[in-house]
Symmetry: C2
Subunit: 104 residues, 2 copies
DNA sequence: TCGACACATAAGCACGTGCTTATGTGTTGC
DNA sequence: GCAACACATAAGCACGTGCTTATGTGTCGA
């Protein structure tokens, strides 16, 4: 199940931090490590998990590999979340309408 | 981190199925087990995880414990997801701005 | 009060996860 | 070509997770 991969990937705080960094713009693996006390293999493994979940996609550029947010992953969460629209508080009802629209 | 608990809870397919059942209306632990080849302790443990994540809340009724979706949990995912609005499809983003204005 | 019921908790076990160190693969510049 | 670099992969290990069986806790009806 793709949803399982997505939620598993996001269940790790380090991976969520990496994902949030990428949301600010595409970065290569080394740049992602900056200020993040994490080894190179660990980062590589985390990126592989995020990529496998469809949350991130990569692009080779010379000897660097550039990572960026994959909108499809975000959209998957949105469609999943849209199923529980009935339980959303009024305050973010507008957002729920939005996600419902994405679902079609 | 509460987000960690939420995503961890939803990373399990059985728990997502339970959550979806509850989205259709509140049920007690035994009713949740119907048609779900799962032991009583396993269900109890899954419900404890969902409850700990704030996705579900309980209510004692006699010797039954009624479970229901907790809107706060859903809202948490919504607000997290909202941070990545920039990566939603263009068409959706425009509508999001519109709805945001309407909401104020 | 006592047995049946609904559910929670404890302990043990198989398997998964995230880290480490070590090494492999592909690219760049000299 | 070859050394340096950027990243991936492999293997091993500590710890977490989800199941099981066994037992505890609270409630109900007779």
């Amino acid at each position: 199940m793709i949803e399982t991969d997505i939620f598993k990937a996001l269940a790790d705080p380090t991976r969520r931090k990496v994902f949030e960094k990428l949301a600010g713009g595409s970065l290569n693996a080394s740049a992602l490590r900056d200020g993040m006390e994490i080894s190179q293999p660990a980062m590589s493994q985390h990126l592989a998990v995020l990529r496998g979940a469809g949350l991130v996609r990569e692009q080779r550029q010379g000897r660097f590999v550039n990572y960026e947010v994959d909108p499809d992953g975000i959209a998957s969460i949105g469609t999943w979340l849209a199923r529980y629209r009935a339980y959303w508080p009024k305050r973010i009802e507008a957002l729920a309408d939005l996600l419902k629209d994405m679902d079609q």
